[in-house]
């Protein structure tokens, strides 16, 4: 059974906050749900499915959030695979709707990562409890360090440069300058990125995503019902998800989850790379974008450095990428998969004002969760307004 065009995103809302010491995580989530339902023209009484996960909630946090919202849904999914979780949730919501498990499914995330002073990138990575962690935690792994090791190997194998990575950060900041809600909006240059301090070589401070508060929500329902709702439906064409890890010590660290999840999503959607008008690529670090674009097949392995140069990723370039400013400049409240889908939906509806991508009809969303050089997940969605 193909899932293509069986379900649609009909509501999308990004919470405007970037710093909310006066709000709780669940409050940000509830306000986000309200925003997404209003966008869809639906009410809380219509909701019979819920997907959420997060770094700030307990393992059973989804039940706690249902308690907070007084919800008793027919479908719940708390798949927790890092920042990509909400991309996977959107796929799971579409599958649940298509299978008749629920009719209106909300995907929500919220966090007070900034005001609660989470040390996400440099606080020491790994929960420490799983068997695999025991062979890593003694050696000082950090989130940024894990991605940095992928960058270092990419530079070694293909001559990729820090200047090339910097262009990704510069482009994201340009996009943020056109997003009134973005946390950092002052344009930067490649020289600024290279002059920022090294956090974990070869990655500089400005190669790393920011830490903010924030949240967002999506509403997914059937394609049939979507046609009667307030906004132009954003159909889910194809989905894919998988993981990569150390693979018994045999891993090729430049082959990432996106290679598999992307292939699945393209096959299931029945579209090709040429059809993609917008790419929303999880930018935890600049290297994440470069490695993801290669693994999704937008360019060959090793060619990512040249590919991201020359403004190709700008909103007016050949492959517009992260038009909201991404995690590098707009927001990164611990996880940002939900914002990838929200911005894609807004672009496909033509709601993005000065940063609107021309003739944006098909978008690819790819979330990377976890740590690229140890264990991570990848989730891909292909969406269209047609």
């Amino acid at each position: 059974m193909s899932l293509s065009r069986k379900a649609a995103v009909v509501g999308a809302y990004e919470h405007p906050t970037r710093f909310a010491p006066d709000k709780s995580m669940f409050q940000i989530m509830a306000e986000s749900v309200r925003g997404a339902l209003k966008d869809a023209g639906l009410t809380i009484k219509d909701v019979d499915g819920l997907c959420t996960a997060g770094i700030g909630m307990s393992g059973m946090g989804i039940v706690g959030f249902c308690d907070y919202m007084n919800l008793t849904p027919n479908f719940v999914d708390s798949t927790s695979i890092g920042g990509s979780s909400f991309v996977a949730h959107t796929a799971h919501a579409a599958a649940a709707v298509a299978a008749g498990l629920c009719s209106v499914c909300v995907v929500v995330y919220g966090s007070t990562a900034a005001s609660s002073r989470f040390a996400i990138g440099t606080g020491g990575a790994g929960g420490g409890g799983d068997p695999c962690d025991q062979y890593e935690i003694p050696f000082g792994p950090t989130t940024v360090g894990s991605y940095a090791m992928v960058a270092q190997r990419h530079m070694h194998d293909y001559g990729t440069t820090s200047e090339q990575l910097a262009e990704i950060a510069v482009t994201m900041r340009l996009h943020a300058s056109m997003n009134p809600a973005a946390k950092y909006r002052e344009p930067i240059t490649a020289e600024d990125v290279l002059a920022s301090r090294i956090i974990s070589s070869p990655l500089h401070l400005l190669d790393c995503c920011i830490i903010s508060d924030g949240g967002g929500a999506l509403v997914v329902t059937s394609a049939e019902r979507a046609r009667d709702l307030r906004k132009k439906p954003v159909y889910i064409l194809g989905t894919g998800e998988t993981v990569r890890h150390v693979a018994d010590g045999h891993r090729d660290f430049l082959e990432i989850a996106a290679a598999q999840s992307g292939r699945l999503a393209f096959e299931r959607a029945g579209v090709t790379h040429k059809d993609i008008d917008l790419a929303m690529i999880y930018d935890s670090f600049t290297i994440t974008v470069l490695a993801t674009l290669e693994n999704l097949g937008f360019c060959k392995r090793g060619e990512g450095g040249a590919f991201v140069q020359g403004g190709r990723l700008r909103f007016d370039g050949d492959l517009p990428c992260n038009t909201d400013g991404g995690g590098l400049s707009s927001n990164h409240p611990g996880m940002r998969g939900i914002f990838l889908v929200i911005e894609a939906a807004k672009q496909l509806r033509g709601e993005c004002g000065p940063r609107q991508v021309k003739d944006c009809d098909v978008a690819l969303v790819h979330g990377t969760g976890g740590t690229l050089g140890t264990r991570h997940s990848g989730a891909t969605l292909i969406l269209s307004n047609q």
Binding site: A119, T122, G123, G124, G128, G129, P131, C132, Q134, Y135, E136, I137, P138, F139, G140, P141, T142, V144, G145, A148, M149, V150, Q152, R153, H156, R197, I198, I199, S200, S201, P202, L203, V246, D248, G249, H250, R251, F253, G373, T374
Partner: protein, 141 residues
């Protein structure tokens, strides 16, 4: 060594259980092992009870020569975790052992700026507590 052990070791320590104890006990003897499946021949690191390729429990412990090459690395300048924030910068690396598996480790006894991918390295055993010895690597001599 005895003096070092009396100093408080504040970095995270591995959880040693019945499944992985033989591997950690070998490190205490300054011996490094990987596992090989007696049924299908697949080599694996880190140690586990079952072969991931055929799920066999018949495991051979293969003693490593303790030599390999740097597969990739990063010089960490910021880590807020206890024990590490006092020892910045440090080099975290994957070393590809001659036995064919990649191990996450630290490179020691060398300046961070001298580390290169492909550099030959050799194991050095660091007895960090009476129970735990870590396999780290230094440039091959």
């Amino acid at each position: 060594m005895a003096e070092q052990q009396q100093k408080k070791y504040s970095k995270p320590l591995p959880h040693i259980d019945e499944e992985n104890r033989p591997w950690w006990e070998a490190l205490q003897r300054h011996e490094l092992y990987v596992q090989r499946c007696r049924d299908c021949g697949a080599t694996r690191y880190y140690p586990r009870a079952l072969c991931t390729q055929c799920l066999s429990e018949r495991t051979e412990w293969v003693r490593c020569a303790g030599r390999g090459k740097v597969y990739t690395y990063t010089v960490t300048y910021q880590n807020q975790a206890a024990g590490f924030r006092e020892s910045l910068p440090y080099v975290m690396a994957y070393v590809e052992l001659d036995e064919g598996v990649k191990m996450l480790t630290n490179l020691v006894d060398c300046r961070p700026e001298d580390v290169k991918i492909g550099m030959p390295v050799e194991v050095v055993y660091e007895d960090v507590t009476p129970e735990v010895t870590l396999a780290k690597f230094r440039p091959a001599r």
